[in-house]
Symmetry: C2
Subunit: 141 residues, 2 copies
């Protein structure tokens, strides 16, 4: 069913964020592996697992009509033969109001499949605007 092939994890990631910016559901789902073990967590949201749940969430986001601009910074990448693990900061703003932005930290995991690289995890969470090293991290609030 997949028609696109991504030769590298970076191609896959670029296509993911382009699909997000253009609200293109079909392009978004080309990026994902067609698998029951894919996982997507939107900021503040529940864990979604499997192709159907992940597709349904992106269908709702794309249908909302909210046009976003996404700037990716500070990538930290661990790549091996079959997988590539990316941590990035996403600076998200409305296309209609680029000055108001939010920062999201995202873990994106890609796997090499028989059909090129595909995304298997997107875990996004709101991040404090400016990390302060003096803060004591809390696990349980």
């Amino acid at each position: 069913m997949k028609t696109k092939t991504f030769p590298t994890p970076q191609d896959c990631e670029a296509a993911f964020y382009e699909a997000l910016e253009t609200n293109n559901l079909e392009a978004m789902m080309e990026v994902w592996a067609e698998d029951e073990e894919i996982v997507c967590v939107h900021p503040g949201g529940p864990r979604l697992a499997g192709y159907e749940q992940v597709r349904a969430s992106w269908a709702a986001i794309c249908a909302s009509g909210q046009r976003l601009k996404v700037q990716i910074t500070q990538p930290v990448i661990t790549q091996s033969m079959m997988s590539s693990v990316h941590s990035v900061h996403e600076t998200l703003s409305l296309a209609s109001d680029p000055k108001a932005s939010q920062t999201v930290v995202a873990t994106n995991v890609y796997m090499r499949t028989a059909n090129g690289w595909r995304m298997i995890v997107h875990h996004a969470a709101h991040a404090p605007e400016l990390p302060r090293s003096s803060d004591t991290p809390m696990i349980l609030h």
Copy 2:
């Protein structure tokens, strides 16, 4: 410097949560790869990258003396030769008050190293208690 070896990603994950429950910093840092590309995100916190930042955050947590109980449920795992990607729900409670609990969704990534399996990513975020499929996911709030 590492003295423990974890033959499987599951051994590594078990050691991670045991170290968390026992506030054992040395055991916690045995779990992590000694690498500049490791990434840790505590719930609501900034992205920490590299061994020193990650160690400092766990040192603060272990020093807090807050004793947690952690129950792991609903694992979704994608394992390959060199990497293993785990999505889990953590039910966290205070050892002193087991009835009050919070749910965290965590993405844990392990890599096979020359010295057994090690953690390279722990990304944790507070999750809604009960995922509601009718909610429209929001990326920008």
